[in-house]
């Protein structure tokens, strides 16, 4: 009897995905095409004849491409910095770096406004210095701000995945290249970048998929003149209720996402190599003390510049609310108006953290099994599966939410109103992060380690637990960080699936911003601040665990 642990365990994610991703998706498709079978191809024809939608497709692709390239360029120095430098406060800085990822778009938009807006800090400053009557920088509602916002959201993905991979890469390879006469640039281009390319490809695939399906950023910062495919789908589904066309667009979007991910995974396969990755901690490195000091200071400044929209937000919060700050918090923690929907921030935070942790657990299990299984398979089939498993990235949370509403509304699976369904939705969105973080590491792991363990008589599961897991643990934790972040910041499906009593922090923020008045802005900003604090603390906790878990010196 040859019962293979690794072969049967793949059923867990397969069943999970069939039930919670493919089935709801199919339900929407069926529902949208109900009753008129000859109607199936009409939406597609509309799509490819209408130059508007062709324009949307083209715009979506190229803005995502630019956003991805920019994110990688911006993130690389930080990835290097975190991978190769050790200094006090690093954990904190890393946690800060990942903050943008969880911030609701409207809050980020307010941050950008506080910084670059007509009355923002930069313009006010420039106008004062140069005595201008008009604000010199006008970024609002431009393409530039969409790209900047995408970079702001996605750079952390690249930083986290690449730096985790980079730090476990043998630095002697780079040293050797230097000694052989390579200049810094040559070493970077010929040795370092090819070596970290698995992580680079992985993270940029995520960044691309995210920019490709970006909804909030485009809606809030760009305005409707910059509609992406996702924006069109959102409008068609929720507002115009033209489901057949929306479904057709979804199919196109999924198709494109699939295509891109397929190319990526193929390339990733080619780039993967055994690197003898070690579960070692970061290395102290190579510069003399003063140069290192300058570098660290420069990088910290750089990171703070990247985070400045959030800083501007905090500044704005204190500037605007100083007159009634105490009232603000009293208003947050007790409800004078006696609203039916009032929830104490403590409950809201508990909800958010609870959903996020459950999401982390589910998506980590699903993601690690998928990554583990994908790493073992060979040939073109694996590429197909790899990209299939990434499909949720190309899926809008709104559509998924709709799918759940119409799929799970009958016994025995009437999950409407249950928070479990939300955790599942979050896990569907989050597990690709775990896969993308873990896969490059598994692929680059020295296969002889596993063989050695096998020869020593270890079972498959034992090998996984005692040999492979410790090596991939840092990568799993990176994935878990993002699963946590995805769940903490997710809004679209939360709004659709959650009962008011299960409100999360982003939903609370939106609720405040749905009404006019300064106090509401203040409360929204206060909740955003709470979100930042909770998330930073959680990331630092994960990071602490990672340090211990990954051994290191």
């Amino acid at each position: 009897m040859r019962f293979r642990f690794s072969h049967s365990i793949i059923l867990i994610p397969v069943v999970f995905l069939s039930f919670f991703f493919i089935y709801p998706l199919a339900s929407i498709l069926v529902r949208s095409l109900e009753g008129n079978t000859d109607f199936v191809f009409v939406p597609f024809r509309t799509l490819f004849v209408d130059s508007y939608y062709l324009g949307r497709i083209w715009f979506t692709i190229w803005q995502a491409t630019i956003s991805t390239i920019m994110s990688v360029v911006v993130a690389l120095p930080i990835a290097y910095f975190f991978a190769r430098c050790d200094f006090p406060g690093k954990t904190f800085l890393k946690a800060l770096c990942t903050l943008p990822f969880v911030m609701p778009t409207i809050v980020v938009a307010m941050g950008f406004l506080s910084l670059f807006g007509a009355q923002g800090l930069i313009n006010t400053l420039l106008m004062k210095i140069f005595e201008l009557d008009k604000p010199p920088i006008m970024l609002s509602n431009t393409l530039a701000i969409i790209i900047i916002a995408h970079v702001f959201y996605n750079y952390a993905v690249v930083v986290r995945i690449v730096s985790s991979f980079w730090s476990s890469l043998d630095s002697q390879l780079e040293d050797t290249a230097k000694i052989l006469g390579g200049s810094r640039i040559q070493v970077l281009c010929r040795v370092t970048l090819p070596l970290i390319s698995p992580a680079l490809i992985s993270s940029s695939a995520l960044a691309f998929a995210f920019s490709f399906t970006s909804l909030g950023v485009v809606l809030v910062l760009g305005g409707p003149q910059f509609a992406t495919l996702e924006v069109s789908i959102y409008e068609l589904t929720t507002k115009l209720f033209r489901l057949p066309l929306a479904a057709a667009l979804s199919v196109v979007q999924l198709g494109f996402t699939y295509l891109v991910l397929f190319v990526y995974t193929r390339y990733q396969k080619m780039a993967s190599m055994q690197l003898g990755l070690q579960s070692r901690g970061e290395r102290l490195h190579s510069y003399g003390r003063p140069i290192r000091g300058i570098f660290i200071v420069a990088m910290v400044v750089y990171i703070f510049c990247l985070l400045s929209p959030l800083g501007a937000l905090i500044f704005r919060f204190f500037a605007e609310t100083r007159e009634y700050l105490p009232f603000l918090f009293i208003g947050l923690f007790s409800d004078q108006a006696g609203s039916y929907f009032y929830l104490s921030p403590i409950i809201v935070i508990w909800n958010s953290v609870k959903f996020a942790l459950c999401t982390v657990i589910i998506s980590t299990i699903v993601g690690v099994i998928i990554a583990y299984r994908l790493s073992g398979s060979q040939g073109s089939i694996s590429g197909i599966f790899d990209s299939l498993f990434m499909m949720p990235l190309g899926m809008s949370a709104v559509t998924l939410g709709y799918g759940y509403l119409i799929s799970f509304n009958r016994d025995p699976f009437d999950l409407r109103g249950s928070w479990i369904i939300l955790v599942i939705a979050h896990s569907i969105v989050a597990y690709p992060f775990v896969v993308r973080s873990v896969l490059p590491v598994i692929n680059s792991m020295d296969k002889s380690l596993k063989d050695a363990a096998k020869l020593l008589g270890a079972s498959q599961s034992r090998i996984f637990l005692s040999v492979e897991l410790p090596i991939i643990l840092p990568a799993i934790l990176v994935g878990a960080t993002f699963a946590f972040a995805v769940s903490m910041g997710e809004f679209g499906s939360s709004l659709m699936l959650l009962r008011p009593e299960n409100a999360t922090i982003p939903i609370a923020i939106f609720k405040f911003l749905g009404l006019p008045g300064e106090v509401n802005v203040g409360r929204a900003l206060a909740m955003s601040g709470l979100l930042m604090i909770i998330v930073s603390l959680s990331f630092m906790a994960i990071e602490k665990f990672r340090y211990k878990g990954s051994g290191g010196f």
Binding site: R31, Y52, I106, A109, M110, L113, G117, A118, Q119, M138, S140, N141, L219, L221, G223, P224, Q225, Y234, E235, T238, K239, L240, F241, E323, Y324, L328, G331, A337, G338, S339, Y340, F341, L357, C358, I361, Y402, L405, I406, N409, R410, G417, L469, P470, L473, L495, M496, R499, P500, F510, K511, L513, G514, L515, P516, G517, E518, V519, N520, V521, G549
Partner: protein, 358 residues
């Protein structure tokens, strides 16, 4: 290996905590219940009401109320259509006059004529078949930033045509009618104001507006909090509600005694939005649902509406709170019927999108 054990242990402890909490919640609700009837109400996101009122209704009717938020007015309706026959709720609140015809056409509701409708002015009762009962109404119009206008020596416009003048260049933000209900409301107001087939029709106006640098946002929050000059943006005119200035006073913790914003009340250029409630077909508690409609039309509920949702109560007996003195009621609002809106909405939006966005 020890680290992994710790990880598993933490996970386990966490899961136990979560389920224990859930269990505790459920236990407490079970003890309270004496076989009460359950009433589920789907509402749009802006719905809010005092908890004491809901508690009172639950107590008087031996019912438990669950209120579910389901997106904005359009989303709530779409959701009900998707769930037709097996609704997750018994009542649907938030059908406004832009969606009324569609809702009636989809045949989602059971008719109910509340005796309390006698207190509601006749012009607010749009559905004469009583499938949808009006609860509140409001107006969509243009708000302006008083301080900005003073600083830039501008007077509030008195005609919509003025907005295409160069002095208002790059000074207005509107919402996308394809995605936002105030956006659609304002579009309808401009149709009412300029007409569809006149020499200078609403599309000519919008084209001029576009050439004058109007910015379009997808939602009210984005427009109000990111582009309106009051909140750090660069535009002093925003499409909002007639009650917004009043809300600015209410939500300022005493900082303002006068609103910082003003309403542009231009005849026919404001849109009256009437929101109603309906009993969903397929409910098992029709009686309870109709009791709730009576309750919602009752004075105590109606008087709670202004300070919670910042709209006007339909019951003429309900008193308004003080700060509603800043929420002027336009005398002549748009005159497009809900049947027309339903019939032409998509054409209007599409025409608008072509002129303004593409």
């Amino acid at each position: 290996m020890i680290k992994i054990d710790i990880f598993l242990a933490i996970t386990l402890v966490f899961l136990i905590t979560v389920f224990a909490c859930e269990q505790a919640n459920e236990d407490s609700t079970i003890i309270e219940e004496k076989d009460p009837q359950s009433l589920v109400i789907v509402v749009h996101d802006s719905f809010d009401i005092s908890k004491s009122l809901i508690d009172k209704f639950e107590e008087e009717n031996n019912a438990t109320i669950t209120i579910v938020k389901g997106g904005d007015a359009g989303e709530v309706l779409n959701r009900a259509i998707l769930e037709r026959g097996n609704p997750s709720a018994d009542l649907l609140y938030g059908i406004d006059n832009t969606y009324l015809s569609k809702a009636l056409r989809e045949d989602l509701f059971i008719a109910y004529k509340s005796p309390l409708l006698v207190n509601v002015p006749n012009h607010l009762v749009l559905d004469k078949t009583f499938h949808v009962t009006p609860i509140d109404f409001g107006y969509v119009n243009i708000n302006y930033d008083k301080q900005y206008l003073i600083d830039n020596a501008l007077d509030p416009p008195v005609l919509l045509e003025e907005l295409t003048d160069s002095k208002w260049e790059n000074r207005m933000v509107v919402e996308n009618p394809a995605t936002s209900s105030p956006g659609l409301a304002f579009l309808i107001a401009t149709i009412s104001y300029f007409g569809e087939d006149d020499e200078y029709d609403y599309l000519d106006f919008w084209e001029d507006l576009r050439n004058n640098g109007v910015v379009v946002k997808d939602g009210w929050s984005d427009a109000y909090y990111n582009d309106f000059s009051l909140n750090g943006g660069d535009r002093p005119l925003v499409v909002s509600y007639a009650t917004s200035p009043a809300a600015e006073v209410y939500f300022s913790e005493g900082k303002y005694t006068e609103p910082p914003t003003g309403n542009l009340i231009i005849d026919k250029a404001t849109f009256q939005q009437i929101e109603g409630i309906g009993i969903l077909k397929g409910t098992e508690v029709e009686k309870l649902a109709s009791d709730f409609i009576d309750f919602a039309l009752d004075v105590s509920f109606q008087e709670d509406i202004p300070s919670k949702m910042f709209v006007y109560p339909v019951n003429r007996r309900a008193a308004w709170p003080d700060f509603f003195q800043f929420a002027q009621v336009p005398k002549v609002h748009s005159d497009i019927s809900h049947e027309d809106i339903d019939e032409k909405r998509e054409d209007w939006i599409e025409a608008w999108v072509k002129v303004v966005l593409r």
